[in-house]
Symmetry: C2
Subunit: 696 residues, 2 copies
């Protein structure tokens, strides 16, 4: 396995992030561990088991400097080593209690240590090959952080059934909203020939429990429309095979009008029998190439993509038609709820884009087939630095739902700014919708437990590309890591998740852990402060969405307005305004409706507020704006200082790359501070109480 790296020296032009194994210098631990790891026994001699064993072997070799033997066995003829096997196997089952066996779910695993005078055995048990590979990486990571083997005992099952990465990769190699190089899958309108990097990507994803990858952009245009045809399926099947080894299914984004573009039909009407037949044939062909194909992701009737509305059909009509073709093979349709009027007139104050998803989909609750999942962006707008949680979650009880999070930092600093998203995501997941009474958390909705759904889960828009460190900003790797870990178990604390990432990526130096943890956990808060606090959003440059432009979207067609004048700013979305709050459970409606009770970090999302309005702190809104921007930009210095303290403790390349980005972040934070402050000063004429420099 050529992918394993030595001591942080980059091989093959890219790092392996948290799988960049470093040699364990702790001789004592090595001594303790050796008996358990010098042999690897696998009970099934198949491709998947051998692959898992090789992963383990290479890791052990790199971490401990010993090269374990891999042996296939069918009975217990040894006393020392790691035993990998499936539930049901006699050799394994001898070591397990009845309750233990029952606790291991489809994708779960058990790691259990048998340490007696005569036996030093690590058991890795799972029900499926997926569980085996997840367990393998978990075991490797436990060994890397020097877990005490005598007390090592893990039973893990993922909470959510679908844990999917969405790639917005285009076939020309570009990535929509990508900030880390070009696509690792496509270039020049072709599927890339080398699968080496795809395989390493699969390893990274398996190590965080991801089980699905949508390989292409949801905006499906040009050549990408043809991905579902034999023109590209032979190559896609090779990618699928690579992913399969790591428990990951391949999905494809489709163009709803494919029957017209590819099939030569005159319509893509979902109720037209020829259309259905065309899709049926297409799906059959896909499964002939990719027997475990995951399904389709569909952006329909959204931002100039075709959809069922074109034919006067509902989204249920559209999704169900596709779902019927996939059902015999176990495939799903993931249908995006990101449907709104993207040709709004800014003069129209009645239409409120925030209401669109709910208005389009709520009436269809109960109409979708069982293998349709609605993929809903976390907030009602579009991945702003802060939005309220979409009221569609829990608003539809009879419809499978996935939450869509954006790992790539479109509006959150584009991997130039450090902006760890775990803290934001955790807040979202812990939001109690009250839809089924107190405790109806988002995390319980999307993991399926609240309504007993089979298909549901997490979708994350990828932040990786062909750059040396996968994510542009080295610390942005933490966002991918955290997405996977939260999708696996949204109950875990982000502190814990982030800390584990630091330990695996940078080692256990106390200062390193402490400083990077502070940086991660505070970075979103800081970014929010110097950009658009209070739920304001959208003050970015149109198109590329980087950098401040306070009125960049003010007169556009995108439905994203703050309507600031000399007196006030914000849109009244209460029940007396656009009525958006009425889409929430009464518990929240009352809170959001009331300017005094509304969470302050969402104040300007829900209310139109005079600049002289006093916040709970006693500050006026305008003074809060000034303070927030001055303080936020100032706090970037703390990030820089915390990083600077780690000089010499971190791989030099990584240290320098991050330093450079932090320097840019500081510059750009100052730009944000000054533009937004000047904007508000010019708009209001109200000076800063503290007399700091606001450019006139």
């Amino acid at each position: 396995m050529e992918h394993v790296k030595q001591k942080g020296v980059p091989q093959n032009q890219y790092t392996m992030c948290w799988l960049d194994y470093k040699r364990c210098e702790d001789e004592e631990y090595l001594k303790k561990v050796i008996p358990f790891i010098s042999n690897i026994f696998i009970l099934d001699n198949n491709y998947y088991f051998r692959n898992a064993a090789l992963e383990l072997k290479e890791a052990i070799k790199n971490i401990f400097g010993v090269e374990p033997n891999i042996q296939t066995t069918s009975y217990l003829d040894f006393h020392h080593g790691t035993l990998i096997g499936k539930l049901g196997n006699e050799v394994i089952e001898k070591f397990l209690e009845k309750e233990e066996k029952e606790q291991i779910g489809n994708e779960g695993f058990l790691i259990k240590v048998v340490a007696t005078k005569t036996q030093n055995i690590i058991l890795l048990v799972a029900k499926t090959e997926s569980g085996i590979i997840y367990g393998t990486f978990e075991l490797i990571n436990r060994l890397r952080v020097k877990s005490n083997l005598s007390s090592l005992y893990i039973i893990e099952n993922p909470k959510a059934p679908l844990r999917v990465i969405n790639h917005w990769d285009n076939m020309d190699g570009s990535i929509e909203r990508g900030y880390a190089g070009s696509s690792i899958f496509f270039s020049n309108n072709r599927v890339k020939r080398s699968l080496k990097r795809v395989r390493d990507y699969a390893r990274l994803l398996a190590s965080i429990g991801i089980n699905g990858v949508v390989i292409n952009n949801v905006n499906v245009r040009g050549k990408a429309i043809w991905l579902i045809t034999p023109k590209y399926l032979p190559e896609l099947s090779e990618i699928a095979e690579t992913f399969r080894l790591y428990g990951i299914k391949l999905y494809i984004s489709i163009n709803f009008a494919s029957p017209i573009y590819i099939g030569g039909l005159s319509t893509a009407d979902p109720l037209d029998p020829d259309v259905f037949k065309w899709w049926q044939e297409t799906v059959k062909t896909i499964y002939s190439y990719i027997p475990d194909f995951g399904g389709f992701l569909v952006k329909a009737d959204s931002e100039f993509n075709p959809g069922p509305y074109v034919y006067g059909r509902s989204h249920a009509d559209g999704a169900n038609m596709l779902a019927r073709t996939l059902l015999p093979y176990g495939g799903v349709v993931i249908w995006r709820a990101f449907v709104y009027n993207c040709l709004q007139d800014w003069r129209d104050t009645k239409t409120d884009r925030a209401k669109a998803a709910y208005e389009n989909f709520k009436p269809l609750d109960g109409e979708f087939l069982d293998n349709v999942v609605l993929q809903i962006k976390y907030g009602p707008m579009d991945f702003q630095v802060r939005e309220p949680v979409s009221p569609l979650f829990g608003g539809m009880e009879k419809t499978n739902q996935m939450i869509e999070l954006q790992i790539t930092q479109e509006y959150t600093g584009q991997q130039i700014h450090l902006c760890y998203l775990g803290t934001l995501w955790k807040e979202i997941l812990e939001f109690d919708t009250y839809c089924k009474g107190k405790g109806s958390y988002i995390k319980r909705i999307v993991d399926g437990s609240l309504f007993g759904w089979k298909y549901c889960g997490f979708a994350g828009v990828s932040n990786i590309g062909s750059s040396i460190n996968w994510t542009g900003h080295d610390l942005a790797q933490a966002n991918l890591w955290t997405f996977g870990k939260l999708a696996w178990n949204p109950d875990r604390s982000v502190e814990d998740i982030a800390k584990e990432w630091i330990l695996l990526t940078f080692g256990d130096d106390k200062k390193v852990v402490e400083n990077i943890l502070w940086m991660l956990l505070n970075s979103h808060r800081i970014y929010e402060k110097y950009t658009t606090p209070l739920g304001l959003g959208w003050m970015v440059n149109p198109g590329h969405h980087y950098g401040p432009n306070p009125e960049g979207y003010e007169y556009s067609k995108w439905g994203t307005y703050h309507r600031a004048d000399t007196k006030a700013i914000g849109v009244d979305r209460t029940s007396k305004g656009t009525g958006y709050t009425l889409q929430y459970h009464p518990h929240w409606q009352k809170i959001f409706d009331d300017i005094e009770k509304c969470p302050e970090n969402l104040l300007l999302f829900f209310h139109r507020v005079p600049y002289t309005y006093r916040l709970k702190s006693g500050k006026t809104l305008i003074q809060f704006m000034y303070d927030s921007h001055f303080e936020g930009a100032e706090e970037v210095d703390v990030l820089i200082q915390k990083w600077e303290e780690l000089r010499g403790k971190i791989d030099e390349d990584i240290f320098n790359r991050v330093s450079e980005r932090l320097k840019m972040q500081k510059e750009h934070a100052i730009e944000w501070r000054d533009v937004i402050n000047t904007y508000f000063y010019r708009k209001t004429g109200i000076p800063d109480e503290k007399g700091r420099l606001i450019y006139p």
Copy 2:
């Protein structure tokens, strides 16, 4: 000659604009004319004469339905016909007075009619082949408007020596700031094979007296850098040959760093002997393919293009080095003065982009070689709907100057809005700089007469492309026409020029002439009213520059700010402000400095003005803004009505195309009106005195 069209029926997918010959229905005129045109005699049997004669023959055939004979002759053996010959030829000179001969300049021509009882002869005489082709088109046009032959007598000489079209065509076929299809020269990084359209373009240009074409974008990147090499010269020489037939020289835009990109040198330092040698060789090669090559157009040290500043050299160093290589062949260097800091910090209120060209070039006056011409945009910024005239004109007495006008409507409606630019250009040309006392008009500077320059003139950024009507908006053809006619003779009135265009393009129906003339002459005034009046400028969407965005450039790096706050708007560019007015002659400095004397249509260019300031009309600034926008958008209805009145009197295709654009113009004028009014209302809180609807 396959290019001649019948009665407005499009052949070959495009119209021929003002050269779209229609049959003359006036039998009486035909009778009078026939003796003069049924024979064409040429005194030089060369390619150029034959081509001119064929142009005339085809025109006569199409206009009068008779097919004249073309005969080469060397003595006068006829009594009826058109005689085409050069000065110096005995046969011709018999008919000419001494003074007449002296009056015909290098590119000029004489048309004279000899009508006696025995002779019916039209004489077309010139000193050069260029004069012959210009005269041919003039004669054709005179016949088309049924000029009285008995009184026909024309001596014409162009005022300015250089009358050049700049194409911002890229080699991929796109056109920077092009709004009429793709390039007629390039596609797919190749020179197009078919020269048919190039030839028709040459005909159009010759008919308006253009004598130079810069074939590629001033931003020279990628493959375009190689246009000066044998990789492309064989094909360019064919284009040059086509142009040559019509008196037009080919020019190429170059990348100043070509010695590095192409030559493999490590520097492009203009004082490096190897660099000079490389350019010398390159120029030699170019002339071996194109013996009458015009020269180079250079955008250096401007908007990310390389230039002499990179090496600590002056623009004179850079231009002169190139000029020396071109001098032996009679070529010129056209050097753009569009040099400014495009990475300005918006917080920096000292730097004023308006001052940049003068600051960069004024100190170099007298340092440029004789075959260097400075190409200066008409205003100090960048082709806004209204700017003051650049103080560089007349500011440099010892430097050849060309004025750069933008025929393509980048900031003036992108050929969706009707915006005839002749009226604006005429105002510019008639501006009296006072640089050499009263009467030092721009037109006298750029035609060379004021300072006795050899090289000087007009550069116009092309508005044509591969669209059916060349210019997208059919009426935008008038801008190309007018550019050529003003470059030929800037003393002519635009009313006269526009009217001639209408007669040749649409015929002499009284209503047609009257209405289109009104539309043209009022269109810039109307566009200015509903967009950015008072010299405001720059309130456009960044990047593509279409449509309103009041703060689109407010925090950018481009140096284009209005700094509007709740009280006032505009930049103080007076001697007490940025000092820009100090670049003008004291006569203008005093006027521009004084808010009461400053021409009102430039008020916000020169002054920072409170919204409550009262204009000469007694209106406040803010009320003027509201009125201007309401009225301007309203007046688009008059344009529509004037056009609608011509239904049935205009070729249906053209009528419909223009109607459609006028409809879009109305919609977009309303957008401008509402966005700008709302912007100012939100900024000031001051309501419209007349209570019209301003969206809050």
